[in-house]
C-alpha cells in the first residue's frame, strides 16, 4: 500500500470507528439524559405553578407550558424568560395565573452573575417577592421590589426581563389558543 | 539692547560653584623642576619621540612627532635634559610613553620660536601648517587635532566658525578668565581660523553667567563686522558642540555626523588663543590655563601651567589641600577624570584640577529606579538613559545599541539628575565600549 492510500485508509478507519463508538454510546445514554432534562423542567414548572400537578408543552414550542391540576383544569401558564444580566444571560422559569393576571412564581434556571452578589437572585427571599405581583407591575428595584444590596444591576435585570417577556408570553399563549 | 539668549532642549542646572575662581586673575605657575610630557595628549596617533635620554632641549622645541595625519607634535615646555622615556599615567587614566625632562632653570627658548608675520599675508594652507606645527589640539576637552578640524574635505562647504566660550562645566573658569583678560587673543585666533577655513562669519558663544567676558568680547568685536557674539542660557551641557550649534544657528547635526556636515566648525576659545600665540609669537602649545578649585583646595586659582607639570606641584602652589582630599579630578565635575595619583602631569586637555573633600567624595547608594524619567527629560541627545543603562546592566549590547547608546555624549546629565542616584552614564559608557569592541572585532 502506498503512503497516500494508507493515510486515507487510516484516517477513514479512525473516523468511522469513532463515529460508530460514539453513536452507540449516544444511543445508550440518550434516554437517561433526556429523562434528566425532563425532570428538571418539570421541577421548575411545578415550582412556579404551585397549584399545578402536571403540565403540557404548548405545541412545537419548548418555551411555553400549561399547568393542570389533578382534575385536569388549567391552572396557569409557565414560560421561559431570558435576557441580559450583569455578566451574561439570565434564564428564568416564570409562572403566572392567566385569569387573575398575576405571577405565581419564578425560578432561575441559569445565570452568570457574581457569586455572593448578583447570584443572590437565586435566593428565595428575592424570588418570592414576585409572587402575587400583578403582571402589569413595573417591578422597579428599590421601589416595587427590594433590590439585592450591591447588586442593583442584577436586580434590575430580573425586573426588566420579566417586564419584557410577560407580554410576549401572553401573546404567544393567546395566539395559540389560550384564554 | 537686550540680548537674545540661545538654548537647547534638555540639560540640567547643576550648582556651578564658579564663584570660587571666576574673579581671580590668571597667575603664572612656578616653573616645574621635572616635567612629564606624554607622547599622546590628543585623539589620534601617538607621537614618536625625536629626542633621547640625555639630550638637551629648549622651551618650545619639538620633542615628538608623528607621520599620521590625525596627530600633532609635542614640544618641551622647559629647557633642560631629557632624563628618560617611560610609561607613565596620564590624567585620562591610561599609561602612555612619556618624556621626562629635568629643567635646568635657564628658560632658554628654542630658535624655531619666532613670530610668523602678519596674518594677512598668510595663506589658509600656511595657517593650518602653523597650527599643526604648534601642536595645537582642541582645548575644549576632546583634544582633537585642530589642523585636522580645519581641513575639511572639499565637498563640505563651511560657512560659519563658532567659538565655544560656553564653559558650561561647573567650577571651571579658565575660558572665562581668558575671555576677560585676553579677549583680543581670542578674537585674533578666531580670525585666523576663519581665514584658515575661508569663511567670513564668526560667532562667539558665551553663557550668560559670564557678563564680564561678554562685555570684554563685545568691546573687541565692536568693529569686526564679520564677528558676532551669541549669549547663551546658562545650562549644562550648553558647551557640547552639537547643542551649541543648535542653540546658536538652529541647525541640528545628525547623529553620527560632524559639525562640518552642517557647514560649521566649532573651536574652543582656548584653542583660538593658542592659535593666536602660535601665529603672533610662534610659540607652540606648551602651557595652558588650568582652574585649580574645589572645597579641598586652600586657595582656588586660575593658573597658567606648563604642560607636563605634575598635579601635585600645581596643587601645592595653590596652598595645598584643605582638609583630607577625597577626589582629585582632572577637568570639571561633570565630565572630568578622577585621578588615583597626583603624580600625573597637566596635559593639553587639562582645563581644571578639582579637589573634592573626603566627605563629598563617595557617591550615594544606588536605589531602584522609580522611572521618574528625569534622566529622559534632561538628556540633550534625546536618549532613554534608563533603558540603555538597564540593558547595559543585563549585558544586552544589541538592545542597547538599538536604543542609540552610541550617540550618548557622556555628558552625565542623566546620572546627575537621577533621584535614585543610579550610575546611568557609567553603565552607558560600559555598553558603548562593548558595542564598539564588538564592531571592531567584526
Amino acid at each position: 500500500m502506498n503512503n497516500t492510500s494508507r493515510m486515507v485508509v487510516v484516517l477513514l478507519l479512525v473516523g468511522a470507528i469513532s463515529g460508530l463508538v460514539l453513536a452507540l454510546t449516544f444511543k445508550w445514554t440518550e434516554p437517561m439524559i433526556n429523562e434528566i432534562a425532563q425532570s428538571n423542567q418539570k421541577k421548575a414548572i411545578l415550582e412556579v405553578l404551585p397549584k399545578a400537578k402536571s403540565y403540557k408543552t404548548m405545541e412545537n414550542n419548548n418555551q411555553l407550558f400549561i399547568g393542570y391540576d389533578d382534575n385536569g383544569n388549567e391552572v396557569g401558564l409557565a414560560f421561559i424568560a431570558e435576557g441580559g444580566g450583569f455578566q451574561g444571560d439570565i434564564r428564568m422559569m416564570v409562572g403566572m395565573d392567566t385569569t387573575e393576571e398575576k405571577l405565581t412564581g419564578m425560578t432561575v434556571l441559569s445565570h452568570l452573575e457574581t457569586p455572593g452578589l448578583g447570584a443572590r437572585i437565586e435566593e428565595d427571599w428575592f424570588k418570592d417577592q414576585f409572587n402575587e405581583k400583578s403582571i402589569e407591575d413595573d417591578f422597579i428595584a428599590k421601589q416595587d421590589v427590594e433590590a439585592i444590596t450591591g447588586a442593583t444591576i442584577s436586580s434590575n435585570a430580573v425586573s426588566n426581563i420579566l417586564k419584557n417577556s410577560i407580554p410576549k408570553a401572553l401573546d404567544a399563549y393567546r395566539t395559540r389558543g389560550g384564554k | 539692547m537686550k540680548d537674545k539668549t540661545f538654548s537647547f532642549k534638555g540639560g540640567i542646572h547643576p550648582p556651578y560653584s564658579k564663584e570660587l575662581t571666576e574673579s581671580i586673575s590668571l597667575t603664572q605657575a612656578l616653573p616645574p623642576k621635572i616635567v612629564y610630557i606624554p607622547l599622546q595628549q590628543h585623539i589620534g596617533a601617538p607621537c614618536d619621540p625625536i629626542v633621547k635620554s640625555g639630550d638637551k632641549v629648549k622651551i618650545g622645541q619639538k620633542i615628538g612627532d608623528s607621520q599620521a595625519f590625525v596627530s600633532v607634535p609635542i614640544h618641551s615646555s622647559v629647557s633642560g635634559t631629557v632624563k628618560n622615556i617611560i610609561d607613565f599615567p596620564t590624567p585620562t587614566g591610561s599609561k602612555v610613553k612619556t618624556i621626562v625632562i629635568e629643567s635646568d632653570d635657564s628658560y632658554e627658548i628654542c630658535d624655531t620660536v619666532k613670530p610668523m608675520g602678519d596674518i594677512n599675508n598668510l595663506t589658509s594652507k600656511e595657517i593650518i601648517e602653523i597650527i599643526r606645527e604648534a601642536g595645537i589640539t582642541g582645548m575644549g576637552g576632546a583634544t582633537f587635532p585642530t589642523h585636522v578640524k580645519l581641513s575639511p574635505p572639499p565637498e563640505k562647504k563651511i560657512d560659519t566658525v563658532i567659538l565655544n566660550g560656553a564653559e558650561c562645566e561647573p567650577y571651571l573658569t579658565s575660558d572665562h578668565r581668558l575671555m576677560v583678560e585676553h579677549p583680543q587673543k581670542v578674537v585674533f585666533g578666531l580670525k585666523a581660523i576663519m581665514k584658515a577655513v575661508n569663511v567670513n562669519k564668526g560667532i562667539i558663544g558665551i553663557e550668560d553667567n559670564k557678563p564680564d567676558a561678554i562685555k570684554n568680547i563685545k568691546k573687541i568685536i565692536a568693529n569686526e563686522p564679520s564677528i558676532q557674539d551669541a549669549v547663551l542660557k546658562t545650562k549644562y551641557p550648553q558647551g557640547g558642540e552639537k547643542r551649541l550649534i543648535d542653540a546658536i544657528t538652529g541647525r541640528k547635526v545628525p547623529p553620527g555626523a560632524l559639525p562640518m556636515d552642517v557647514g560649521i566648525v566649532v573651536n574652543n576659545v582656548g584653542t583660538a588663543s593658542a592659535i593666536a600665540d602660535s601665529i603672533q609669537k610662534g610659540m607652540p602649545l606648551i602651557e595652558r590655563i588650568v582652574t585649580v578649585t574645589g572645597n579641598g583646595i586652600v586657595q582656588p586659582s586660575n593658573m597658567i601651567v606648563k604642560i607636563g607639570t605634575p598635579f601635585k606641584e600645581v596643587i601645592e602652589q595653590c596652598g595645598g589641600y584643605s582638609g583630607v582630599p577625597g577626589k582629585v579630578i582632572s577637568g570639571g565635575p561633570m565630565m572630568g577624570f578622577a585621578q588615583y595619583t597626583t603624580e600625573v602631569p597637566v596635559i593639553k586637555g587639562t582645563s581644571g584640577i578639582l579637589v573634592i573633600n573626603q566627605f563629598d567624595a563617595y557617591s550615594e547608594i544606588e536605589q531602584p529606579c522609580i522611572k521618574c524619567a528625569r534622566c529622559v527629560d534632561v538628556c540633550p541627545v534625546g536618549l532613554l538613559p534608563i533603558k540603555i543603562a538597564n540593558y547595559s546592566q543585563k549585558s544586552k549590547w544589541d538592545e542597547a545599541e538599538e536604543y542609540n547608546a552610541l550617540y550618548c555624549i557622556e555628558c552625565g546629565s542623566c546620572s546627575f539628575i537621577c533621584p535614585a542616584k543610579r550610575p546611568l552614564v557609567q553603565r552607558i559608557r560600559l555598553v558603548k565600549g562593548e558595542i564598539l569592541a564588538k564592531k571592531r572585532s567584526k
Binding site: 469513532s18 463508538v21 454510546t25 449516544f26 445514554t29 439524559i33 457574581t114 | -
Partner: protein
C-alpha cells in the same frame, strides 16, 4: 520497578500543573469548588488513560502525516464518551464543568503525553504514565479547588468550615482569584523543590 517509576513521576516530579504547566485552562476555570476540580481531574484521568492505551496500541499503524489528526480523533472520542456519561449519571457536575469537558480534547496534557510518551512506549508503560499524570493532575486541581472554595465560599466540598460569621472572599471564586491562587501556589511549590534540589546538589 519501571512501572512504578512511570507512575510516580507524574505525581510530583513531572506534575502536569505545577511542573509542566500543562492543561492550564481547566486548572484555572473549573477549580472554583473542590468538587469541580475533582470531577474535572477524574474526567481528564479517564480520557488520558484510555487514549494513551489506545494510542500505544495503534501507534505503529498510523502514518506520520496523519498522526496528529488521528490522535485527536481518538482523544475526542473518549471525551465525548465521558461527557455523555457524566450527563447521564452526574448531570449537575456536567452542567458546572460545561464547556471545559469538551476542552479536554485540546488539553495539552493529553496530546502531549500521547505525542511524547504513548507513541514511543509499550502499552503497559503508557498506561502507568497516563495514570500517574492523571492522578497528579487530579490532586492538583482538587487542591486548587479546596483552597479557592474555602476562601471564596467558606466551605470544602460544600461543607461549611469557616463558621457563619465568615465573610467570603469572593475574588477567589472569580477569574482573578484563579490566577492569583495558582500563581502563589506555583511560587510555593517552586520554593519547596528549589530547596530540595539545592540541598541535594551540595553533596
Amino acid at each position: 520497578m519501571r512501572m512504578w517509576k512511570e507512575f510516580i513521576k507524574g505525581l510530583w516530579k513531572e506534575n502536569a500543573v505545577f511542573r509542566q504547566l500543562m492543561g492550564m485552562c481547566p486548572t484555572l476555570a473549573v477549580t472554583n469548588a473542590a468538587i469541580n476540580g475533582l470531577a474535572m481531574g477524574l474526567a481528564t484521568l479517564f480520557v488520558l488513560v484510555c487514549s494513551s492505551v489506545i494510542i500505544a496500541i495503534v501507534k505503529n499503524y498510523i502514518p506520520d502525516k496523519v498522526r496528529i489528526p488521528s490522535f485527536i480523533v481518538v482523544i475526542a472520542t473518549f471525551v465525548t464518551i465521558a461527557d455523555l456519561f457524566m450527563a447521564a449519571f452526574f448531570p449537575d457536575i456536567q452542567k458546572v464543568l460545561g464547556l471545559f469537558i469538551p476542552l479536554i480534547v485540546v488539553n495539552c496534557l493529553i496530546l502531549g503525553r500521547a505525542e511524547a510518551f504513548a507513541s514511543n512506549n509499550p502499552v503497559k508503560y503508557a498506561l502507568m504514565d497516563a495514570l500517574g499524570m492523571g492522578v497528579g493532575f487530579t490532586w492538583a486541581l482538587t487542591l486548587l479547588g479546596i483552597i479557592r472554595e474555602v476562601l471564596g465560599m467558606g466551605s470544602i466540598f460544600g461543607i461549611e468550615v469557616m463558621g457563619v460569621n465568615f465573610t467570603p472572599w469572593i475574588i477567589f471564586i472569580l477569574p482573578p482569584g484563579a490566577f492569583i491562587t495558582l500563581g502563589i501556589l506555583l511560587g510555593i511549590f517552586n520554593a519547596f523543590s528549589k530547596k530540595k534540589t539545592s540541598e541535594a546538589s551540595c553533596h
